[in-house]
């Protein structure tokens, strides 16, 4: 009887151990799925999920479990979700945040608790510069990158008098600063509008009176839709060209502006027509799985998943060895949909950045076409401010 009990106990231990071994690596995704910005989180999640589905629930051959929760665009709520993922679910890897203000609230707290955070979108200057951390990686871009590329392009194209427009909040000023870093000409006007403003008639009339040769604007979400529509209705899209970062020109927003955005040139680190095997494969698989053209956010979610997959493979799924995991991520040894990818010293991307143009394709869909790569192997200016211990 005693021996029987002993064998039974041993069996229990063995099975428990086995169960431990196949326990999947948990990855916590805090993202924005509700509010009108919810489609951004949806794209990131779907891109990430696609990478997992393609490997049958694994990343880099390691079984993973994706925990997703919606932060409602609120920093406080995102902090709570992060706490829960870390404390209750024992998550060692976090990702998913869409908005910079949410990232600034959450990331410094979690990286101090020996948790890896891989940003699939938000890239505020704070986290690239003074607030950089060995556990924080950004796989998308530093926020200024998509403005810098437009500044360079506008200068190269010979525009000498540009009118600037952004909402009156910190990110608005950052984006215009990014543009001005590479733009050499004169500034016809620099206007900061109310956050969430819907009617731009007054600004458009003032802009026309200044007669600039181009307009650069950063107006995310619905504000951008409002501006582009009203700009076209005022007939200005035929006379003064408009430029901006990719945020107002993703394939989902374009369906809400259609013809009014045709011909607008925008800066992006990715486009669905980039011609490399990883990207062709991704775009086809995404269209098959979800029935729509992926946006840049989806590509970032997909790359975040594949980057993590490459690292998990190297550490054989053991996320407790933090140093090894960090080193594996830093190698960026994955097949990116952007063609090539490496990390700067402050763990942000070194990548090519493109100018795209909004077009209507043969099927009548509104989408982007890559015009040219303006920057080759572009990093960010905050590297010097980053002192990792």
């Amino acid at each position: 009887m005693k021996r029987f009990l002993l064998v039974g106990l041993m069996l229990v231990f063995i099975f428990a151990d086995l169960a431990q071994a196949v326990e999947p690596v948990k990855i916590g995704m805090i993202t924005t799925l509700s509010t009108k910005a919810g489609y951004l989180g949806e794209e990131i999640r779907d891109g990430f999920q696609l990478a997992m589905d393609q490997e049958g629930g694994k990343l880099g051959g390691i079984p993973v479990e994706l925990l997703v929760d919606d932060d409602g665009r609120k920093p406080e709520k995102a902090k709570q979700i992060a706490e829960r993922f870390i404390k209750r679910d024992r998550v060692k890897i976090l990702t998913g945040i869409v908005f910079s203000n949410v990232a600034i609230a959450v990331v410094p707290k979690v990286v101090r608790q020996d948790v890896i955070y891989v940003s699939p979108n938000a890239g505020p200057s704070l986290l690239a510069g003074k607030g950089c951390h060995p556990n924080y990686f950004n796989v998308a871009y530093q926020n200024d990158n998509l403005d810098e590329v437009v500044g360079q392009y506008v200068t190269d194209a010979g525009f000498k008098n540009v009118y600037l427009l952004a909402p009156n909040y910190p990110a608005g000023k950052d984006h215009l600063a990014g543009f001005k870093r590479y733009y050499q000409g004169a500034i016809a006007g620099e206007v900061y509008t109310k956050l969430g403003q819907s009617d731009y008639a007054a600004e458009i009339a003032a802009l026309r009176a200044k007669a600039p040769d181009a307009v650069f604007f950063f107006l995310p979400g619905g504000m951008g839709i409002n501006f582009i529509k009203q700009y076209a209705q005022a007939g200005l899209n035929r006379t003064i060209p408009v430029f901006g970062p990719a945020f107002s020109f993703d394939e989902r927003l374009l369906q809400a502006v259609k013809d009014a955005a045709i011909g607008v040139k925008n800066g992006s680190q990715w486009s669905h027509d980039l011609n490399n095997p990883a990207n062709r494969q991704f775009v086809d698989a995404f269209k098959n799985a979800y029935g729509r053209t992926p946006t840049l956010y989806a590509s970032q979610g997909y790359d975040a998943a594949r980057l993590l997959g490459s690292a998990l493979k190297q550490v054989n799924g053991d996320v407790t060895r933090l140093d090894a995991l960090r080193q594996a991520i830093r190698k960026a040894d994955f097949d990116t949909v952007r063609g090539k990818f490496a990390f700067t010293a402050n763990q942000h991307p070194i990548q090519d950045i493109y100018i795209r143009e909004v077009v209507k394709d043969e099927a009548g869909n509104y989408t982007n076409r890559t015009v040219k790569a303006v920057f080759k192997d572009h990093g960010n200016v905050y590297v010097e401010q980053c002192k990792m211990e």
């Binding site: 509700s34 109310k194 007054a202 619905g222 927003l253």
Partner: protein, 304 residues
């Protein structure tokens, strides 16, 4: 000078939009004594239904018809199902309940139409610009909005002063017990008034559709300005709503348009732009505060 006239037109057009919203809301407050925060939701319903029907049928006018019908029917349904339980309650309860309605309608539009904003364009016969003042090409659609708004103002005026139902509404607003005692069906009257208010909101939403992003939560952006208009004009007063809407539209537009140039006379350019951006976002609230100091009940209060 031409720029000034153009900005005046822009201010007028914004004012007209605000009038359509605030007329309905102030009517409901004046007569039903209910603060309906969900008024913006009917604006959103108008825009969504209008955009959908216009896209399906290709006819803008059918879209307008559908938007008006949907907003009015939704209003009547909400009045019967929700508001009737709130008339006897305190204002705080009404605010909570109608705030809940905002969230309900926002989520409902996301469930029905998805998270992506809808597309809606100006109808072909109203696209392009008209140069009715020489030197100022002005978008034809915005002129149409101004015209419709003036038309609605005239119709409302005639409705209230020349018709029996208008007389009953005014009586109900003055003293509802007495009006009820004199044989006016107050229950039905309330439903009608609420439906009329939401119909106007739906019209505003439909007309905003081609200019703005049709998306969940679009109602809250205009709701705040609408509340300012009502407070400035005098709660419950339609004439007040008209005056308040025009003032707010003009002050907001003119502030955004000319404050930067004005401040540049005194400060450096970068500094002036920053101050102007903050000041012009505040201008209507400063105006409201100023008016409340001298006319605590608004410019044209409803009763006496």
């Amino acid at each position: 000078m031409l720029l000034f006239i153009e900005q005046l037109l822009n201010g007028l057009q914004l004012g007209i939009m605000l009038f359509l919203m605030s007329a309905g809301m102030t009517l409901v407050f004046g007569i039903l004594q209910v603060i309906n925060l969900a008024h913006g939701s009917f604006y959103m319903i108008g825009a969504y239904v209008g955009a959908t029907v216009t896209a399906r049928t290709g006819s803008f006018l059918l879209g307008v018809l559908a938007a008006l019908t949907a907003a009015a029917l939704a209003g009547v349904a909400v009045e019967i199902l929700v508001l009737r339980r709130l008339y006897k309650k305190e204002h705080l309860d009404q605010v909570l309940a109608t705030f809940g309605l905002i969230m309900f309608f926002n989520e409902l539009t996301r469930i029905l139409w998805g998270r992506q904003p809808l597309f809606m364009d100006v109808p072909v016969w109203l696209s392009g610009s008209v140069e009715f003042i020489p030197g100022i090409p002005y978008p034809a659609y915005r002129i149409a909005v101004i015209t419709v708004g003036i038309g609605v103002g005239v119709v409302l005026y005639l409705l209230f002063t020349r018709t029996r139902i208008g007389m009953q509404i005014r009586a109900g607003a003055g003293n509802r017990e007495m009006a009820g005692a004199l044989g006016v069906n107050i229950r039905l009257l309330y439903t009608l008034v609420f439906g009329l208010g939401t119909l106007l909101a739906g019209l505003a939403g439909m007309m905003a559709g081609p200019i703005l992003a049709v998306e969940a939560g679009m109602g809250e952006e205009i709701l705040i300005l609408t509340l300012v208009v009502i407070v400035i004009g005098g709660i419950g007063s339609i004439r007040g709503a008209l005056v308040g809407a025009l003032i707010v539209g003009l002050v907001d537009t003119m502030g955004r348009a000319f404050l930067p140039a004005l401040l540049r006379l005194f400060f450096s350019a970068a500094h002036a732009d920053g101050v102007a951006a903050s000041l012009s976002s505040m201008s209507v609230y400063l105006l409201m505060a100023g008016i409340l100091i001298f006319r605590p009940r608004g410019l044209l209060p409803a009763h006496g």
